[in-house]
């Protein structure tokens, strides 16, 4: 049977090979993008695993004391890990060969580069030591991470003072660095990554499924002929499945190999402050195989669904009976999903994980339901235009839409989903605050009320006129709790790092911060989201453009007989091109517009509260422009094919 299927493909002529090749190509693209979406989820876990040693499990009798802090230098934030040990038992933190001696400062390569031209009094003196060397990659989240590991004396102020900053560790005894608690930021990123995966994978899967049916559609008539000469339904199913699956397997292989080949490129995408180690993208290697296996299976299932009509009614396909009307229930399903999402977004509470899971599920359901609603809307548009058209191009377009709404939807599905996604994320605020020092800067740190006067005096003396020192109840986010005071130093902007360096050595506990320093974390998050949104939109658009091109090509091949005869009857290609353009642009305008608005409405209540800025409007505008251009370009790409199909007057119509 496999031999026969292969023979049918090979001998099916150029068009059979062409459509099988198209299927394989489409599956390859879908596989590549799916591999990317899946790998992203593992990559964050890799970063989390690699950095969790910085917050190890506390152990009362541990020989290592660890504490962390965030130091700031200009617009950069540096993760500092202070280490001391009670007994030398050969423990070494990741990225280092030995436990750092007191006074040794180990810096990440990126920090070494940053500090190259920085005077010690502006930064390095904060650590009361000298750079001993560079940290290895296995200590770092990514190659651009700014990290310092500082060896300390057990009794030094740095190893005794409590630290109160967010996400930092006060001096804690631990037994080793093997396991720890990952930074909570990664939990957040991983949820975002799941959302991104859904936004990318659903359209990719829909597109891949449509591509799998391409072969089936192309073969409809021939399969019906086989059926007429007595092939059993089982034989038909096997023949087509073998053909499609062979194409899908080669596509999945090519896509996976292509993914492996582009990982070094993909790893350059900076998220959370820096690009990825290529190995991070390979963390899900077993899953890579799973994806490569799952794609052909999904393709086969999709082809099987597409085959139903042929198997059930060979005469029906051969005679091209009028398509059934689609039912309005499709719109209802979509509306229900959207409303459920809107209601859900108003009811935060209960178990947060469960809530997030439900909302993510609803989001995926909305996208899937849009795929259900699309053909129905296309059919309605088609009927309206067919009834009211005055000119042949519009009449042809309208009738075609009404007759085969699913095919027309396939051409615009990608861009409509892109519009939905762009609408959903357009409102995410993406303003990054400028954190470079101003003319006059203020740094503040928490101190114990008991020692406050002494520390203030000491600080004043050490600063030696560089800054004015005050004690207050709070400045900005630094607010004094019970038994605390806030030490504030005011200084000209160019001296702020020098002042910070002196204060860091004088004050125990958290290093002094500018009010604006706190926004650096959110800046990095916003930057990551901005990159993520761009990547998601790029993937979705790549999907949309390729699927529009493939469906345009497919539709020309499907209708080559009709085009040929229209050409014979003297129909100018201009009219056919016009009709084809209207076939895509009319549904695109209606569905793309609806989808974008729905996306906006759905997510507005969730992210609307986070503020609004113009970049969302820009992203939306670019989405609409690029999407429309992609569909139009896809159509014109198939114009030469249409021309050759039209002029093909070989005596034997196939």
């Amino acid at each position: 049977m496999t031999a026969l299927a292969w023979r049918l493909t090979r001998l099916g002529g150029r068009s059979a090979l062409f459509s099988t090749g198209l299927t394989a190509l489409a599956v390859a693209v879908a596989t590549l993008l799916l591999q990317f979406a899946v790998a992203g989820n593992f990559a964050f876990a890799e970063r989390a695993d690699r950095t969790d040693w910085r917050n190890p499990v506390p152990a009362e009798d541990g020989s290592v004391i660890i504490a962390t802090a965030v130091d700031y230098y200009g617009p950069n934030s540096i993760t500092r890990i202070d280490l001391a040990q009670t007994a030398s038992d050969g423990l070494a933190p990741p990225g280092l060969a030995d436990f750092p001696e007191p006074g040794e400062v180990w810096v990440s390569p990126a920090l070494a580069d940053l500090l190259e031209d920085v005077p010690a009094e502006d930064f390095l003196d904060r650590y009361e030591g000298a750079v001993a060397g560079e940290l290895g990659d296995d200590a770092l989240a990514h190659a651009d991470e700014l990290v310092a590991v500082v060896g300390r004396d057990l009794g030094s102020a740095a190893m005794t003072g409590e630290r109160e900053g967010a996400d930092v560790v006060s001096p804690t005894a631990v037994a080793g660095f093997d396991s720890g608690t990952p930074d909570i930021a990664y939990g957040f990123y991983q949820i975002l990554m799941v959302v991104a995966t859904i936004l990318m994978a659903v359209p990719v899967a829909i597109f891949g499924a449509a591509a799998a049916r391409l072969t089936v559609a192309r073969r409809d008539e021939r399969l019906a002929t086989l059926r007429l000469i007595g092939a059993t339904p089982g034989q038909i199913v096997s023949l087509t499945l073998i053909e499609t699956t062979l194409a899908a397997i080669s596509g999945a292989l090519v896509g996976t190999v292509a993914w492996m080949a582009v990982t070094p490129l993909i790893s350059r995408i900076p998220i959370d402050g820096g690009p990825w180690f290529v190995a991070d993208l390979w963390a899900g290697a077993p899953w890579m195989i799973a994806v490569a296996l799952a794609v052909p299976i999904l393709a086969a299932i999709s082809a099987l669904i597409g085959l139903r009509s042929v198997v059930i009614s060979p005469l029906g396909v051969a005679r091209k009976v009028k398509a059934k009307g689609l039912r309005a229930i499709r719109v209802v399903v979509f509306a229900v999903c959207v409303i459920a999402f809107l209601i859900g977004s108003q009811m935060v509470g209960g178990s947060e994980v469960l809530f997030a899971t439900i909302m993510l599920g609803l989001l995926a359901a909305c996208i899937a339901a849009m795929n259900l609603m699309g053909p129905w809307v296309v059919q309605m548009i088609g009927r309206i235009f067919a009834r009211t058209a005055r000119h042949p191009a519009r009449m042809l377009a309208g009738r075609r839409l009404a007759e085969d709404p699913k095919a027309a939807w396939r051409a615009v599905a990608g861009v409509s989903l892109a519009g939905f996604i762009a609408g959903s994320i357009a409102l995410v605020p993406m303003v990054q605050t400028d954190t470079t020092p101003k003319e006059t800067e203020t740094v503040a740190a928490l101190v114990d009320a008991e020692d406050a006067e002494d520390l203030a005096a000491l600080a004043s003396a050490e600063l030696d006129g560089l800054a004015d020192v005050d004690l207050t109840d709070g400045v900005g986010d630094v607010a004094a709790g019970d038994g605390q005071q806030v030490l504030v130093a005011t200084t000209p902007g160019e001296e702020v790092e020098h002042v910070r360096t002196i204060l860091t050595t004088v004050l125990p506990g958290d290093p002094p911060v500018r009010e604006i320093d706190a926004t650096m974390l959110s800046n990095r998050l916003v930057g990551s989201i901005r990159v993520g949104v761009t990547v998601v939109l790029a993937v979705v658009f790549a999907t949309a453009a390729v699927s529009a091109a493939i469906s345009a090509i497919g539709s020309v091949l499907d209708r080559r007989q009709a085009y040929r005869l229209l050409h014979l009857a003297g129909t100018p290609q201009r009219v056919l091109d016009q009709a084809r353009r209207q076939e895509t642009l009319l549904p695109l305008a209606v569905l793309g517009g609806t989808a974008t608005l729905t996306g906006l409405v759905m997510t507005a209540p969730i992210i609307g509260g986070m503020g609004f800025d113009a970049s969302g409007v820009l992203i939306l505008g670019a989405t609409v422009a690029i999407g429309t251009a992609a569909v139009v370009a896809a159509g014109s790409l198939s114009r030469p094919l249409l021309a050759s199909v039209m002029r093909d007057v070989s005596p034997q119509p196939d």
Partner: protein, 244 residues
């Protein structure tokens, strides 16, 4: 020089001289002369691969001959641009094939109205004559049916209505009854011949079927791209003209 003398009552409308066409090394037409006049019907017969369809395509301006010329009245049509030939095919010629020439998504009346609309006529105006034609061919009440909902004979009559609605000068038919049973085929053929005669048009039919050929006013037989037999007086003069 083209022949100036023609059969009585049949001034030459479409003429061709010394048509040559090659597909690679294969000779499809090896010097064919041809003429058809108003009200005339010519059956082109011959074995498979003898060049019948190629002749039809050359005459209809679908493909260009490698050598020779085709004239509609006095106008050379083989030298026209693709756009001009498309216009010609749309306005002066009509086509009828074995099957599959109707657009499956259009109802019968729109299928018939399409050529008129392509000529710039608004749909409302085009549907009138289209439905009239359908009614004349016995398809009243079936205007809204899709081709898939019609029988083979009905679909062929819709195609016929479409071929005739533009009042063509020449109708080209390629095995027009090939997919129909004898009785239905005869019926379609009768309507075709009768309407062509009424319109004063010319008909060129490619067919294997001797019964159909016998109903035409003239038959020519092609073998290996050359005319082997021509039973009409007109062709005699054409041949004389060509060899002169």
């Amino acid at each position: 020089m083209m022949p100036s003398t023609t059969a009585p009552g049949a001034p030459p409308m479409l003429t061709a001289r010394a048509l040559h066409k090659h597909y690679g090394a294969a000779v499809a037409l090896g010097g064919v002369d041809f003429a058809v006049g108003s009200g005339e019907s010519i059956a082109v017969t011959g074995p498979s691969g003898s060049g019948k369809s190629t002749l039809l395509h050359c005459l209809a301006g679908i493909i260009r001959p490698d050598a020779g010329e085709v004239r509609l009245y006095d106008e050379r049509i083989d030298v026209l641009s693709e756009r001009e030939r498309s216009h010609l095919r749309r306005t002066r010629f009509s086509f009828l094939f074995q099957f599959g020439q109707l657009l499956p998504e259009l109802p019968a009346d729109e299928n018939v109205a399409l050529p008129l609309m392509l000529g710039g006529m608004p749909r409302r105006n085009a549907l009138g004559p289209a439905r009239e034609r359908l009614a004349q061919l016995g398809l009243a009440g079936k205007e809204d049916r899709r081709p898939g909902e019609l029988s083979g004979g009905e679909a062929q009559r819709v195609a016929l209505a479409r071929a005739l609605v533009v009042r063509p000068a020449v109708v080209f038919a390629d095995e027009p009854t090939g997919a129909l049973d004898r009785a239905t085929g005869d019926q379609v053929m009768s309507v075709l011949l009768q309407t062509v005669a009424e319109l004063g048009a010319a008909l060129v039919v490619v067919t294997h079927d001797p019964v159909i050929a016998a109903r035409c006013t003239r038959t020519i037989e092609l073998v290996d791209g050359r005319i082997r037999r021509d039973d009409g007086s007109l062709a005699g003069s054409v041949r004389a003209g060509a060899t002169r």
